[in-house]
Symmetry: C2
Subunit: 451 residues, 2 copies
């Protein structure tokens, strides 16, 4: 029988797990200190919760779960498969953490305290075509605050982004923009109804350049005149406050645009007081595709690595509206664990000690010595040290190869002499250095040295 | 739109999450110190990997995932639904962690080091009828060693069980038996081919009593004579070594039975040297249903709580055989997180501090004070303390109610005086006590007090 797993899914081996857990733990700890409470939602959601939330394309990418029992009863299989699928599948796998979170907030509105700060680190599933760096099952790491429109939350998300990437030792650029400013720009050129087209085109500036963006805007039905009116926006220069001041003038009389400028002025004012380590920029060409954003939008890129954004998010004013709870404002960010993994690999920034899943291996000399090893290992383990005993009295060479292959930093020998003296001999596998220590000192020995 | 989740699935709110994570972290830490390396496998497996591994009943309980695209092409829907399902579903959700682990070991045999000690904490899915304490999506916490038949592993699993439940403060009984002893008993009464019937009946001794077990054995085709021969086994008494000695005599000449006695003698000898805190018993009536066990079997029950087993496992000699890699011995245990949760709830043993998701709330007096709060909170967070700031300058009563509702143990006030003196005033919400401390001392203040 051939052993394989579905296309686009992955097994994680111990070293990959250690590295992934390092990523999750770093993010989780920052979420914790900012008081974002962890929640979990089921992998299985009712399809009615998921369908129609991700556009037509998204509906196709939902994994649908076959009803149990006789799923065929009363179903007309002469119909098109699009019509049959929802009849034989009541449930599906979650596609992201955002829609389940909206559903969660509405369903538990009486059991949670607003403003509600939640984080969620769980896998999601998409029936996308698998390709390099794109999987059908992958983790998302989200943090959102819902039920408050205070800009303090935008600041805290910026601080969290900064601390997470500082923790990883990754240099980043955090770009911020505001959907209200983009709306102001659309109004400015006399085409507020073209906001989406404008943002989609502007979003590509980085990739395709200004001339191509203009060509695309023409294609999308903007007049040459309107496009010409955009020029002052592209020409904005100077400091963040210079740019905001220029925009303020351009937007004179447009309430939404001015609100956007005001929000950015407040947020950047806050950001100045905390002196983030990452480079924070107001980027008027940042648009982010998702339609539900209504205020600040964020995007993080790693410096010196050509990979897409590794974190993003923004403010949305009506996420829970789809589930019948309107006018609840929220703001959130999502870290891309898989891309962060790739960045850390490329920059060689994973801590080396992640390779050491065991701190010490006790060599097995036979039944008599084994009992002493069991006693020693028990003490170490109770003190939090990862200790293992080779399970058989195999040849020394075999036992040492095992330690080598597993990159175990220390090997302990407990022979006749050591038993008599209530001691053990420890070999540092990196340096080859060997020393005998008393049993009372062994815990100290393994906690003070770097493993 | 009505908000709900599929029957048998659950959302976990922050307090439940804190309690569940306490359970997982406790187990995970013990796994770590015994050098069981974490792995993960995908939720989605090929149905061909899963089908036929859990018996006919199990196949029915597998959640099957509909193929994407036109799943209907070339499928004859005149067939019975059992035949149609595997044609329109190539993938399914994992049903346990054991079969995926066996698949993993075979698939990655060249990338892992044997003996391979792995742990895995992930959800599984079963289309079971939901009922109290039984879910369609739930977590399993497994630890297995594969590629070694050393009884040292049985000992380590016993130690791990002991440490986990000590960590929880739950008093437990750990029952141990050996399938080879059960086989010896079947041989003893002249019906080795009836081993499964005998174990299934004996397994019920606790629940239905000896007379009913005997009645069931009769029904299952054992002669009255054979059943009478079982009597000495039920009559065994005295210490573990007394029982093993009696069995040794009964089994004279039966290699398998004697091997079982020998294994138990060695294992209990090891266990004696480590003085476990939990009550460890040789229980000859422990059978455990799963057919793949071939050596030691384990089962843990909580004292003073009437709930089923909260941990179980055993040795299997041919788990990877189904995937074409025969003769690899393994032994493992699985903790039941949901039942442990119920036991901890019933015994009121969850640590109280799990309720405190935030350590301190800064009261928001307005823009000017806010900037100072942001600076203070940043320092605390960088020192690992969970700090939040109320997002608006709302009425004091509202802000204090928020702290109360979230059970935040400390509230911090930063007003005009505090800003001048570079200090903050801290209120202990449990005692009502209030004091002003300098900014330099605040981290200390929150780390030395119990939150």
């Amino acid at each position: 029988m051939k052993c394989s797993i579905p296309k686009g899914t992955r097994d994680f081996l111990p070293l990959e797990m250690a590295r992934r857990n390092y990523i999750f733990d770093t993010i989780r700890n920052v979420f914790r200190t900012y008081c974002f409470a962890p929640i979990e939602t089921p992998a299985l959601e009712n399809l009615s919760t998921l369908m129609g939330k991700y556009g037509e394309e998204g509906d196709k990418l939902l994994f649908k779960v076959l009803n149990s029992g006789n799923f065929m009863e009363g179903v007309d299989f002469q119909n098109d498969y699009h019509k049959v699928a929802p009849q034989i599948c009541e449930r599906g796998l979650r596609y992201d953490l955002t829609v389940p979170f909206a559903r969660f907030v509405v369903q538990h509105r009486n059991d949670i305290i607003f403003p509600f700060k939640r984080c969620q680190i769980q896998p999601v599933w998409r029936a996308d075509r698998p390709q390099k760096g794109r999987y059908r099952e992958f983790y998302q790491c989200d943090a959102d605050v819902i039920g408050s429109d205070s800009l303090l939350h935008e600041l805290e998300l910026v601080q969290m982004i900064d601390e997470v990437f500082q923790g990883f030792g990754i240099e980043t650029v955090l770009k911020i923009n505001n959907r209200k400013i983009l709306a102001g720009i659309a109004t400015l050129i006399g085409m507020p109804e073209k906001l989406t087209d404008i943002t989609v085109a502007i979003d590509k500036l980085d990739k395709i350049g200004l001339d191509n963006v203009k060509a695309e805007l023409l294609e999308r039905g903007l007049s040459a005149e309107a496009i010409a009116k955009l020029q002052p926006v592209f020409d904005l220069s100077g400091s963040t406050s210079d740019k905001l001041q220029s925009l303020e003038k351009l937007f004179a009389g447009d309430e939404t645009g001015l609100k956007g400028v005001e929000e950015m002025r407040t947020l950047f004012g806050y950001i100045d007081t905390v002196s983030p380590k990452c480079q924070v920029e107001l980027d008027l060409t940042l648009a982010r595709g998702l339609n539900y954003y209504t205020g600040a939008i964020f995007e993080v890129k790693a410096k010196n690595v050509s990979i897409g954004s590794i974190c993003g998010g923004g403010r949305y004013d009506n996420l829970t509206g789809i589930f019948g709870m309107p006018d609840v404002s929220g703001v959130g960010i999502s870290f891309g664990a898989d891309r962060i993994y790739d960045v850390l690999t490329e920059l060689n920034k994973f801590p080396e000690n992640l390779e050491h899943l065991s701190t010490v291996l006790f060599i097995n000399f036979g039944e008599k010595e084994l009992l002493q090893c069991i006693a020693y290992a028990s003490v170490l383990r109770k003190n939090g040290i990862a200790a293992e005993i080779y399970p058989e009295a195999a040849k020394m060479k075999k036992q040492m190869s095992y330690a080598d292959a597993k990159k175990i930093p220390f090997v302990a020998f407990v022979g006749e002499n050591e038993i008599i003296n209530n001691s053990l001999t420890i070999k540092n596998m990196a340096t080859g250095e060997q020393k005998t220590v008393s049993a009372e000192k062994m815990t100290e020995e393994f906690t003070t040295v770097k493993s």
